[in-house]
């Protein structure tokens, strides 16, 4: 187990290097000058431009720039963005709200998704099953910005139950309920369907027949014996989704005006703020890889046939 974790961590190094280099090269290749528009209505003075380019190593060739960046990154320095603010500071502020949003969205996914999936799977072909199947198909086929704007209008503006926008970095959990629900809505549908399919399949398994033949109550045969096996793929999905959600949700964050990581990257790309984009993406890649490692470890706990030796 320990060996496995070390090996996985070592495998992350080339992935992180590769990912950062690709992002770095892509930002480098973007057309447009980062200094344009920095000095109001008139073009910036030649001295300012020269100083700016010098400060941010913009005159070096790509590989040298990347090397210098990596050197700093290895020391834990994520650099300063073009506004002179350390990226680390910005990220720390924004990551809290993105993380809270992601955790709440995952909670919706897990509870609503699994509950709906179990109800549908146990009552296959009945009303609940059809209700879940049709409503999840509905959610899956509608783009998230439509769902987002619609729910924002309904709950935020028309009925005023939740705040329509959440611009504060210290937003309350209550005010994040609506955005988190929108963010998780698509995955709720996938989790429900995945749970249902796996449950229906496992209910036909021989070991469930054994469980019934052992004289177990139906609750135990389904809730303990069937569910455990049915949830293994669901956990994998939720884990991977959590990794993805921690990367910020550009669409949902923009609808509800949340100052999260997704919006930060968006802003960085628009203002040609290379360091901000590269550093943020690198952090996201590392977080994603770590979450994935956790999911793989959890997988081994749920299914003893999978060994990490």
């Amino acid at each position: 187990m320990g060996k496995y974790i070390v090996r996985r961590l070592l495998q992350m190094i080339p992935v992180v290097l590769g990912a950062t280099f690709i992002i770095f090269a892509m930002v480098f290749a973007l057309p447009g000058d980062p200094t344009s528009g920095k000095c109001g209505e008139r073009p910036c003075s030649a001295e300012y431009v020269a100083k700016f380019r010098e400060e941010h190593n913009l005159n070096d060739p790509l590989l040298i720039q990347y090397g210098k960046y990596l050197g700093k990154f290895a020391q834990g320095d994520l650099g300063t963005n073009y506004y002179g603010i350390p990226v680390k500071e910005d990220l720390a502020k924004r990551y809290t709200i993105t993380g809270r949003l992601a955790i709440m969205a995952i909670a919706f996914e897990t509870f609503i998704g699994i509950l709906a999936g179990v109800l549908a799977g146990v009552r296959k072909g009945r009303f609940v099953d059809n209700l879940v199947t049709v409503s999840t198909l509905f959610v899956i086929s509608i783009p998230v910005f439509v769902i987002g704007v619609f729910l924002q209008y309904l709950f935020g503006i028309k009925w005023g139950i939740f705040p329509a926008t959440v611009p504060s970095l210290e937003a309350s959990t209550f005010s994040l309920i609506l955005p988190a629900f929108v963010l998780g809505s698509l995955s709720v549908a996938y989790v429900a369907r995945l749970t249902r399919t796996n449950l229906v399949e496992n209910l036909r398994a021989d070991y469930v027949r054994t469980a019934v033949a052992k004289g177990l109550t139906k609750r135990r045969a389904v809730g303990v014996h069937t569910l455990r096996n049915s949830l293994i793929p669901v956990v994998t999905f939720i884990g991977a989704d959590f990794g993805a959600l921690l990367g910020g949700a550009i669409v949902t964050e923009r609808i509800f005006n949340i100052q999260g990581v997704g919006g930060y990257i968006w802003k960085g790309i628009n203002s040609r703020d290379g360091i901000a984009v590269v550093s943020t993406v690198t952090v996201l890649v590392i977080v994603y890889l770590l979450v994935n490692l956790l999911v793989d470890l959890l997988y081994g706990v749920l299914d003893p046939r999978i060994s990490h030796e």
């Binding site: 398994a205 021989d206 070991y207 027949r209 054994t210 469980a211 019934v212 033949a213 052992k214 004289g215 177990l216 109550t217 135990r220 014996h225 455990r228 096996n229 749920l302 299914d303 003893p304 046939r305």
Partner: protein, 344 residues
């Protein structure tokens, strides 16, 4: 838990075997499966009984209704699609089919128990074997987890699993096929059931392991005086173990006999066909006899004697008139020409 000792005491059984040791009576049982292709009549009027300490073999090809009979007794048929339109299954005089679900559930394990063909898929892959055996005690006797594990070790030792104490927390995939079937047996006998149904218990195993498992079953049956129903298509497996045999074909019992008579003097052409199709070492090089044709489609059972399309002796009467199960010598046969078969 201070109450665990009182709760885990063996409860008094509500069931008492009849005066003559009669445990189980299956009477004129019918089972149908309602499928989109039509109604499959899987069991058509099956009757038999079982006494304490007796081993009854139920023989037949795939699709003859052996397993459905067993599952009907256990009450683990999926209903729907399965329907039991008529018949009775009496355990110690009480009809299981009219019992409420909760009473029925409580009988599974302490009264009637079952082991299945494929032990790997029949055990839950995600729980330790000891946990799965111990679950019998936790569900039926309210035992706590550690006491249940201790019981599991005791049972694993009883079915001769080497190093039971160290292996009680292992998972099914960590055992060999024979050991897994021993674990299934340990689970099935955990609560001392009066009736044990073994559905093709050795089919998925190597020949050498088959003999060991059969010997273990016979030993346990003798020790606990269980009524054992042994379901198989392999006549070689049951010869040494069974007392009586019932041969099933297309959902009916077509022959019934003491095990020696069945082998020595079959009274039904189907039984004879099954016996002839056992490979024998002294007939090396000869073509193995097989029963021609296939078992009938249960949605379209042939008229008259259901076996007539495959029977070498079939006459006109076999196509029109269904033969009743009748006594011939000291056995029973559902064949119009039972005497000829017996003496031929």
């Amino acid at each position: 838990m201070s109450t665990s000792t009182t709760k885990s005491a063996i409860p008094e059984s509500n069931y008492k075997a009849g005066a003559d040791g009669l445990l189980l009576e299956v009477e004129d049982l019918f089972v149908e499966f309602h499928t989109p292709e039509g109604v499959a009549r899987a069991i058509n009027g099956v009757s038999f009984d079982l006494r304490q300490g007796e081993t009854l073999a139920i023989l037949g090809e795939s699709g003859s209704g052996k397993s459905v009979t067993a599952q009907a007794i256990m009450g683990i048929l999926d209903m729907p699609p399965a329907v039991i339109p008529s018949g009775a299954i009496r355990y110690c005089g009480q009809d299981l089919l009219t019992m409420n679900q909760e009473q029925r559930r409580k009988s599974r394990g302490p009264e009637i128990s079952m082991i299945f063909q494929d032990a790997l898929s029949s055990l839950n892959p995600t729980f330790p074997v000891g946990w799965q055996i111990g679950e019998m005690f936790r569900q039926h006797r309210g035992m706590n987890r550690s006491d249940a594990y201790a019981q599991a070790v005791r049972l694993m030792e009883r079915v001769a699993i080497p190093g039971a104490k160290d292996r009680v927390k292992n998972y099914p995939h960590q055992f060999s096929g024979g050991m897994r079937q021993r674990i299934m047996i340990a689970m099935a006998i955990a609560l001392d059931p009066a009736v044990l149904i073994a559905d093709e218990p050795t089919t998925a195993l190597d020949v050498t392991v088959q003999a060991q498992i059969m010997a273990l079953l016979a030993e346990l049956q003798e020790e606990r005086q269980m009524g054992l129903i042994l379901i198989t298509h392999d006549l070689g497996v049951v010869a040494d173990v069974a007392d009586r045999a019932a041969v099933m074909y297309a959902g009916r019992i077509v022959a019934r006999a003491g095990i020696e008579d069945l082998y020595a003097h079959p009274a039904h052409p189907y039984t004879r066909g099954l016996l002839e199709s056992i490979p024998r070492l002294d007939q090396k090089g000869q073509t193995l006899a097989a029963i021609g044709g296939l078992p009938p489609n249960l949605t379209r059972i042939p008229s008259g004697c259901t076996f007539h399309p495959r029977c070498r002796m079939a006459q006109d009467i076999c196509r029109t008139e269904e033969p009743a199960l009748r006594t011939v010598g000291n056995q029973q046969s559902a064949c119009h020409f039972a005497e000829e078969v017996l003496n031929g």
